[in-house]
Symmetry: C2
Subunit: 595 residues, 2 copies
């Protein structure tokens, strides 16, 4: 059986030591919480994840969800009870508005909690996770009446939420969507169409499911300019607001898929279902995209979460599995063989993962801190600056953390040798589950295009300049700190590569439309690696300060990992740059029919 221990002290170190300045400067955005307050919340979350959700992960994958002839869906054994604890603990509305029953805590904290829950049980956590997305969408775009009706029940977990975008013929290209909405006299709409790949589309965890649905109002323009957003509950609220009569929405099938078996991915059929418009007519897509930024950070978090739990299991296995001898002589001469952690190649795989995870967690916390500042900061200019940074970092985090999250799950599985291929070890589930994060909420290729095609240019490239300035200032402020030199040198070199790549894009992309697209994937990864290196430099500085106060083996380990990252992971930036500047021509010359 796999293990999991939520890394609470890791998050607290980042909040207290690495991002102390940001927290202090924007304390209002963080509700004036102390580190002890945060420790209390995270420790409680850790307990729920470790004790309740994690033990259900492997059996839930095995059992999966089942649909009966009437379209009712049953989740795996234990999920209902776990969900009740999750909802009662207030975890769904941790960062939601207290006006509607939320706890009003920082999004940063909710995001850390989601790492633990996702690592413990990704398929389970998607149920409340989609409810959180629905809450965010309704909060931002719905009328006060709809908010009063739906938010309290979603925040309490009495009702769940979903997002209905994809149709059989359209995923990325939502402009093609066909689901139609016909206005009724009472102001509601009759929605008809088929949605696919709907996570948590139907299940038995809550008495009602609130679907947020994209559809085209009859007569609306074609393409993306004619899409509207609707709220369509499984059961229509009665006059008291309680779940009443069944709406004409049904689950047509549960998709058979590679992983996240315990989450019901549904085909949803709308047969003249009653829906209520959210926001303005034909502005559904922009409403959905605003919400999707938060959902994308949530998916990035899943990449980190699986990478972390996979790492913990691989490290534990490497400490106990006896096989072969250290090249430098037996390390456990009384045992029949040494634990495989003595082998350099096993350490390579573990260090690759660990050196990624700690920086990825820092980068995610940085981004969510910025999201909190953007929403709750005191100063308008600061809010705008923070909003630009989080918007720029979002596709990078989604694409890079899920690509590495998957690759790391594969590496962790490799540490187990043949045993990693066996279902009961749980490692192959991590690989299968992590795989979806590279695809949903915008496939990673779409993230890369969002970055180079939209986010880089926004406001004349201001957000990028702000991030690059941050890094540059950090380097120059710490230039005289010799203990930081092993980090700053490589960081500066990689920053130079990022600048070169950016200049190349600025010179070429405006005239050659394919150049930006051809460079997008590598640019996103180059950017991500530089950002992670920057996080390691900040972590290293904080670790040195802690060490200066008292000896701290945990801080020594961080300095070792920082050096590992610089020596072994950051060199990839050179290959990314070489690919970027090779241009689009090698991608476009081959005729389509020659593929």
């Amino acid at each position: 059986m796999p293990i999991y221990k939520a890394p609470v002290e890791e998050a607290l170190f980042l909040l207290e030591d690495v991002f102390a300045q940001d927290l202090g400067q924007h304390s209002q955005a963080f509700s004036g919480l102390t580190i002890d307050d945060m420790r209390a919340v995270l420790t409680q979350a850790a307990r729920l994840g470790e004790d309740v959700l994690q033990p259900l992960n492997l059996p839930g994958d095995r059992q999966g969800c089942t649909r009966d002839a009437d379209g009712n869906v049953t989740t795996p054994k234990g999920f209902k009870e776990a969900y009740k604890l999750y909802a009662q603990g207030g975890w769904i509305g941790l960062a939601a508005d207290p006006t509607y029953g939320g706890q009003g805590l920082p999004y940063t904290l909710a995001s850390i909690v989601n790492e633990y829950m996702g690592a413990a049980n990704m398929a389970f956590t998607m149920y409340p996770g989609l409810t959180q997305s629905a809450i965010a969408t309704i909060s931002q775009h719905a009328s006060e009446a709809l908010k009063r009706l739906y938010l309290p029940r979603l925040i309490s977990g009495e009702w769940c939420g979903t997002m209905n975008l994809t149709e059989p013929h359209c995923g990325t290209d939502l402009g093609l969507l066909k689901t139609k909405a016909v206005p009724r006299e009472d102001g509601s709409y009759a929605i008809t169409g088929q949605k696919i790949f709907i996570s948590a589309g139907e299940h038995d965890l809550a008495e009602n499911i609130v679907h947020l649905v994209l559809a085209r109002i009859e007569g609306a323009p074609p393409g993306t300019a004619g899409i509207s957003l609707f709220i369509a509950p499984k059961r229509l609220p009665d006059e008291d607001g309680a779940a009443g009569a069944r709406n004409a929405i049904s689950c047509g099938a549960i998709e058979r898929k590679m992983g996240i078996h315990a989450n019901a991915t549904c085909v949803m059929n709308y047969d003249g279902a009653t829906g209520f418009l959210i926001g303005a007519e034909n502005h559904g897509l922009s409403a959905m995209f605003l919400m999707m930024n938060e959902a994308r950070l949530g998916v990035a978090n899943q990449g980190l979460a699986i990478s972390e739990v996979a790492y913990q299991n691989a490290a534990a296995y490497a400490q106990t599995r006896l096989q072969g001898r250290a090249l430098s002589g037996a390390k456990a001469p009384k045992s029949p063989a040494d634990p495989i952690i003595v082998h350099a190649d096993v350490r390579r795989m573990l260090l690759d993962i660990s050196a990624f995870n700690q920086a990825a967690r820092a980068l995610l916390i940085w981004a969510t801190l910025m999201a909190d500042v953007a929403q709750r900061g005191e100063d308008a200019q600061e809010r705008e600056r923070a909003s630009g940074i989080v918007s720029l970092l979002t596709p990078v985090l989604k694409g890079v953390l899920t690509d590495y999250g998957f690759a790391n799950a594969v590496k962790a599985q490799q540490v187990f040798g043949g045993h990693g291929y066996i279902v009961d070890a749980g490692m192959e589930q991590f690989v299968r589950d992590a795989r979806i994060a590279m695809i949903y909420e915008g496939a990673n290729g779409v993230q890369a295009l969002d970055l180079v095609g939209r986010k880089l240019q926004k406001d004349g490239g201001r957000a990028l300049r702000n991030v690059l300035d941050d890094i540059r200032i950090f380097i120059s402020e710490n230039a005289s700190n010799a203990a930081l030199a092993p980090c700053l040198g490589p960081l500066e070199e990689s920053l130079g590569r990022l600048k070169q790549a950016t200049l190349w894009l600025m010179r070429n992309a405006p005239t050659k439309s394919d150049d930006a697209a051809a460079a997008a994937h590598d640019y996103m990864h180059l950017f991500g690696l530089v950002a992670l290196a920057y996080m390691w430099a900040r972590i290293a500085r904080a670790a040195l300060l802690r060490k200066a106060r008292a000896p701290a083996p945990r801080m020594d380990a961080k300095l070792d990992l920082a050096r590992y990252f610089m020596a072994r992971i950051l060199p990839e930036t050179g290959a990314h740059l070489a690919r970027i500047v090779s241009g689009a021509e090698v991608l476009t010359t081959l005729p389509d029919e020659a593929f």
Copy 2:
């Protein structure tokens, strides 16, 4: 339903144009076969793979193998009939000795056939594949009496074979194995112990299963010096050599695993089973290792095979899935959207795979040609040279082709977006199936250690010098060919990196034992990429020669792919070199308990 078309013309182009000189020079080793002979064989193989095996792949994965209470194992529907055709077609003994009923054709040809069969149905092809391994082992090491008894029935496919190495506590470190063999008065041995992860360990395809088993003869020394190899059939041959009484061998369980569900991976229990010694007492491991070289090339082939079939499906999907518009303007203005192959990032994924596959196929053919020369060449010196090269290339091919094979299956799945995550598309099966190839027949970390720890040094590094000389000579012979310059420049640069890495290893590894191990993974990949670039240079030269004779769009496409490889895949060599020369220290400083 996934598709598959065996790339027969690809192999013939490589044999006829790229390796024409090798074939001509060593024609005896290739039984004097003409290209037309080879085409006839490959076309027949293609038909079996495409028409019979491929349609069983997806259903076979879904159905899996089942074991009844008595330990009998049933393979998926259709496997028995397919196996009969496979055996009757003479495919199992294609390269086996005619004395025992084999067809005596070159191993090169058998290997190409195995690519097609593996691409069509990897789980199925493992059954005859393991029989081929058993045939090779018995041919090389068994007594004439055992050969006469077992080889004809294995070659005809009446009986199947398996390899029994792994035990619960030992995989890589076979020195720990506990299965014991007690000599009996009649010269046979009583074998007792448990083996796990035994592919094709028990099934219903053949009337008998011949297990090759590693065990320790009572009183033998501990460790690897006390391991012997035995033949232990499921049914003991009677006096006519027919399958007779049941031996004390049983399948205790079928492992539940990530993929290759249609192949029965068994726990095998030996309860005083009758076995017959093969080769000398206590020399079982070296016998097994000789055989494993061939098996490792077979696994490398699986990496290529899955990469190829995954590519074909992704390319077909990209040609027909409509989503979004080309950045340079609509390419299919009459359709609601353009096919996704217009998008640079989709082309990137497809080209990454295709540019790998063609060079990987060439490298595998080069290695198997060398294996044929090593076994059947006229000249002793040539045989020895060829043997050194194939022995050096084997771990590189196994490690690199399976790492990329898996990564490419993941990329091909990504082209499908959300649909790639759905079971019925078949793409996720390719990912799950390809995953095992990185693990079995020696995990890829073990291949890397085999390369840097053993193969590089062998005979004073002669094989490496021979390969590097080949590349150097090719570069200088073609230096004046301007049309080849786009290949030769990058090839030479990457060759320089390989030399730097090799020099670094020679300087550091002898004194610092961890340096070689810490560099092993990256060195293997650096070597592999240089070898693949060399293949592309040879392919490009051959393509130019063909084009000079007549216009050939297929050859133009090869030149495009060669340039893509150089621009987009080969730059990775820089990152590998940087990691290698960073040394072992960053891997060893972190204390074990800090993981």
